[in-house]
């Protein structure tokens, strides 16, 4: 089938998509957007988190035809306007040492983006709850917490 959908604000088209392909597969293998990751493809690890019409979903559990006519936003679409190319969450992850191998990082950044949009000043307990579905094997999560706190503090500076 031909899949027509909006990806990171741009209308896109993918041809010869198998109905059984996941949105994750289409993004990575057909749209040239490998930023969303394939750590488990079972909805367990959170590395494939994307926005589908503004809702955070596991792209591995979305059948590609589901995305027909809908808007998808991936990690590649986060840094749209800030100078230097990084949004404040991405910047915070880099600065705090929250990135080691980095495979979990895109999913975590998307989940953080979703968290801060809904809860701009989350407590540590709220951060842990929101990120509970994102697995990281390298960091032990401490610096990820630092990153989220830092991003939250900067967000409130920018948008009073």
């Amino acid at each position: 089938m031909r899949l027509t959908f909006d990806v990171n604000g741009v209308g896109q088209q993918a041809d010869d998509v198998w109905p059984g392909e996941s949105l994750l597969y289409v993004l990575r293998e057909r749209m040239g957007l490998p930023g969303t990751k394939n750590a488990c493809e079972q909805g367990e690890c959170g590395s494939c988190s994307v926005y589908l019409d503004g809702t955070l979903v596991c792209a591995c559990l979305v059948a590609a035809p589901q995305a027909q006519g809908r808007a998808v936003r991936t990690v590649e679409g986060l840094a749209t306007d800030s100078a230097g190319g990084l949004d404040h969450i991405q910047q915070a992850f880099v600065e705090t040492g929250a990135v080691q191998c980095g495979f979990c990082t895109p999913g975590l950044i998307m989940a953080t983006d979703d968290l801060l949009a809904n809860t701009p000043t989350p407590s540590d307990a709220e951060i842990r709850e929101a990120l509970a579905g994102n697995l990281c094997r390298c960091t032990g999560y401490e610096k990820i917490l630092d990153a989220v706190r830092l991003a939250a503090s900067r967000r409130t500076e920018v948008t009073p």
Partner: protein
């Protein structure tokens, strides 16, 4: 000496730090934008997908393989079996006992039998399902004790007796004897302890891209821990000279030991050469659980004898490690396990037997900690038990027996340099404890089980536990795991630029950051480019054994020094006085601090480039247990030791057997923290893997089959499972090591597990002799 225990960004972090600065990873930006190319992200026009058919049986004879239907499937370009392996049909890290593709027998569930290339991964999978393999299913050998029996059927009909004569399914038996273990002691404590099979569970799946080259060779882009050892095995199996097999490091999504063995490297190259097309292979998560080695499960029997005052008189220990179907790095793992079986304590009389076996269970090999993890659980559990029997505080007992500089290992090796066992224990003991849990708290997230346990603190008890452990850094027993680095200094666009090239695998630990810091510090240059790692330069050795900063850092330092000597020679040739000069901020700076010349001006169009190998001082093999009297496993087998201690505070819901870790404090000596941010990150990450082994991680194997090959049922710690982690970093330099550093990556995984269990014992009074601890062990139901 210590860095602050909480690291808040101060705004001074830069991407251009020198040694000791908090320095940001150069690959941090592409990793947060999604641009970083991991091995599973690689893509090439025209590429085909490779898929592996695996054995469903833990043990079977392969009578025939019929690939006809698979090959006839539309979209399929190749189906290969062992008959298509042109070179060596077997490979292996230490012993070449592992078939590239099964020949006449399969020895573990998941063993590769055939490979398929097709134009879509799903086509390849469906075609693989059409391959008909005629198996004669045999009874698998899955019980360790049974496998050790001389009557047991053999996992390998012709075991490689010449390498490690152990007899039958015993791949290696390491014996260590020192002093007189028959002495009597006032108090004797025995125990049996078990460690389950842990998995490295890196997030980035096994993956890579093999591209056939015009010269009849192949270029392989791969996530791995050691490019050159992969190259050797690929070349041998392809029957090609090594210069026709070129490997480049693709982005690695974590390793932790699981990428030391070949997984898809040879397969992808075979398919690439057969189809003459690029071949991409990516394992699914389920396949990944079958596709790499795991941590050796262990059963241990210990006997500690001590005097009333707590002084250890003797330690006897038997460790049995289940190596599974193929050797991998098992012989080295059991050597480590035996060497570290007593723990970082003085004990003149030891009797240690370490066995590692072949079975038809999943193959086991390297995982962060490499044998020291298992025995640390054993010896630390024993120290707690001994403390209770003696009526001595468990930390005081450990301090009383603690190793120090000059202590002797069970192998007779003298521990050179700082061995701050007592200090590490005191630090974790003296660190302030978290506040007691409020009894009227209804914040579910603060209770054992968190949001998923929506009760309110009934039956919750708090326990505090301690443990200390150590391990070697670098390869042991005489192995020369040297590293190579090439450093180039030149002027580009008016700016001084250093380029560093090694074959070292960056797997997320921050090695490339440190290499750049070294170059900046040694050459006084700000702009450093890290050239991608590949086999066009000599080997850097493995990213394992916590050795890269030591060995490749050492190589980079040596190459920088040679470059500096070259610069100084150039200056000297122009009549400048460079006695005792150094390079700083782009200048040659004399011993008195005066700037002598600008390096950029001096260089002009010239390039100074040097390649150096770094060989650490040699180690000795343990005297081989060849059965002759007097062979007692003695020798200065290890390059360097690294120590860490943990304290764990845990709340336990004793009715449910649920655990919530309240806080973990780690104290570790890193010699010198070259990048403080990375050092703390490694310690926190390693501690978390130790927590996982203590509480939740186990590959459950029944009759040779893995019951939980998915993240649904193989649980790794989430952010709800990890507590706040305090880290105290000591920098007691090692005079023999570059910059005085000690390897960092493994010690935090070693003492963390027993510290958790120690806290649970304190809270529950239960003996808890097995990890991972299950809720049933705590409730006793």
């Amino acid at each position: 000496m210590s860095v602050p225990t909480t690291q808040r960004p101060t705004g001074t972090e830069t991407a251009t730090g020198r040694l000791g600065d908090i320095t940001l990873l150069p690959d941090g930006i592409p990793k947060v934008t999604g641009d970083f190319a991991y091995s599973s992200d690689l893509w090439m026009d025209d590429m085909l997908w490779g898929v592996t058919l695996r054995s469903p049986h833990p043990r079977a004879r392969v009578r025939s393989i019929d690939i006809g239907a698979a090959l006839a499937t539309a979209g399929v370009t190749a189906v290969l079996t062992h008959e298509d392996v042109p070179g060596s049909k077997y490979y292996g890290l230490e012993i070449a006992d592992q078939p590239v593709l099964a020949v006449d027998e399969v020895r573990y569930t998941g063993e590769p039998v055939a490979i398929v290339a097709a134009d879509h991964p799903e086509t390849a999978r469906r075609a693989a399902a059409k391959i008909v393999v005629d198996y004669e299913v045999l009874d698998p050998i899955t019980d360790s004790r049974a496998a050790m029996s001389p009557d047991s059927p053999l996992v390998h009909a012709t075991p490689t007796q010449d390498h490690y004569p152990g007899g039958g399914n015993i791949l290696r038996h390491v014996r260590i004897r020192r002093g007189d273990p028959t002495l009597t002691a006032d108090v004797v404590v025995t125990g049996e302890y078990d460690v389950g099979m842990q998995d490295q569970a890196f997030l980035g799946p096994e993956s890579g891209l093999a591209v056939p080259a015009e010269d009849g060779g192949v270029d392989l882009f791969i996530a791995t821990q050691w490019l050159h050892v992969d190259q050797r095995q690929v070349a041998e199996s392809l029957g090609l000279p090594e210069d026709k097999v070129r490997l480049s490091l693709a982005g690695v999504g974590g390793a932790f030991g699981a990428r030391e063995d070949v997984s898809m490297q040879i397969h992808a190259c075979l398919l690439a050469l057969r189809t003459n097309k690029p071949i991409k292979m990516v394992y699914s998560r389920e396949e990944s659980f079958y596709g790499h080695v795991h941590r050796h499960p262990a059963t241990m029997r210990y006997e500690h004898g001590a005097n009333r005052d707590g002084t250890l008189v003797y330690v006897k220990c038997e460790v049995v490690l289940d190596g599974g179907a193929y050797a991998s790095s098992s012989p080295a793992v059991v050597s480590n396990a035996a060497s570290f079986a007593v723990g970082p304590y003085n004990c003149d009389n030891v009797l240690i037997d370490g066995y590692i076996l072949y079975t038809n269970n999943p193959p086991c090999g390297a995982m962060r900690g490499f044998g020291a993890v298992q025995v640390c659980f054993g010896h630390e559990s024993q120290m707690d038990k001994l403390a209770a029997a003696l009526g001595i505080d468990p930390v005081e007992l450990r301090i009383h027996n603690a190793m120090a500089e000059g202590s002797l290992m069970p192998t007779g090796q003298v521990v050179e340099g700082a061995a701050p066992v007592a200090e590490l224990l005191r630090r974790v003991k003296d660190a302030p404890l978290p506040a007691a849990a409020p009894t009227d708290s209804y914040d579910l997230r603060a209770l054992p089980g968190g949001v998923s346990n929506t009760t309110h603190g009934e039956g919750v008890r708090r326990g505090v536990g301690y443990a200390v452990g150590f391990k070697n850094v670098g390869y042991s027993e005489g192995f020369d795991d040297f590293s190579t680095a090439r450093v180039r200094l030149e002027v580009v666009g008016g700016e001084l630029v250093a380029t560093v090239h090694t074959a070292a695998a960056e797997v997320g630990q921050g090695l490339i950051t440190v290499m750049a810091q070294i170059a900046r510090t040694e050459l006084g240059v700000e702009q450093v480019i890290n050239q991608p790692a590949d086999t066009s330069i000599g080997t850097a050795g493995s990213t394992s054994a916590s050795r890269q900063t030591y060995c490749t850092g050492g190589a980079v330092q040596a190459a920088c020094e040679a470059v500096r000597d070259g610069i100084l020679a150039m200056a000297s040739a122009r009549g400048l006085s460079v006695e005792g000069a150094a390079l700083r901020d782009g200048k040659i700076v004399a011993a008195d601090g005066a700037a002598v010349a600008s390096v950029a001006d001096l260089l002009g169009e010239e390039i100074v480039e040097e390649t150096r190998e770094f060989h650490h001082r040699p180690t000795e093999p343990l005297t081989r247990d060849l059965g002759a009297p007097g062979d007692i496993g003695q020798g200065a087998a290890h390059l360097q030791f690294a120590f860490a201690a943990h304290r764990v505070v845990a709340d336990v819901d004793v009715e449910l057997g649920l655990v919530r870790l309240v806080e973990v404090t780690t104290a570790q000596d890193v010699g010198k923290a070259l990048n403080p941010l990375s050092v703390v990150g490694q310690i926190q990450g390693g501690t978390t893997q130790g927590i996982g082994l203590a509480l939740m991680e186990e590959i459950q194997v029944k009759d040779g089959k893995i019951r939980n090959p998915s993240f649904t049922d193989y649980l790794i710690p989430t952010i709800l499972d990890t507590p706040p982690m305090q880290v105290q970093v000591l920098e007691l330099g090692d005079p023999h090591a570059p910059y005085g550093l000690r390897g960092v990556g493994e010690p935090p995984t070693i003492s963390s597990t027993p510290a958790v269990v120690s806290a649970l014992r304190a809270a529950t009074g239960r003996p808890l002799t097995r990890v991972p601890v299950r809720p049933e062990h705590i409730t006793g139901t």
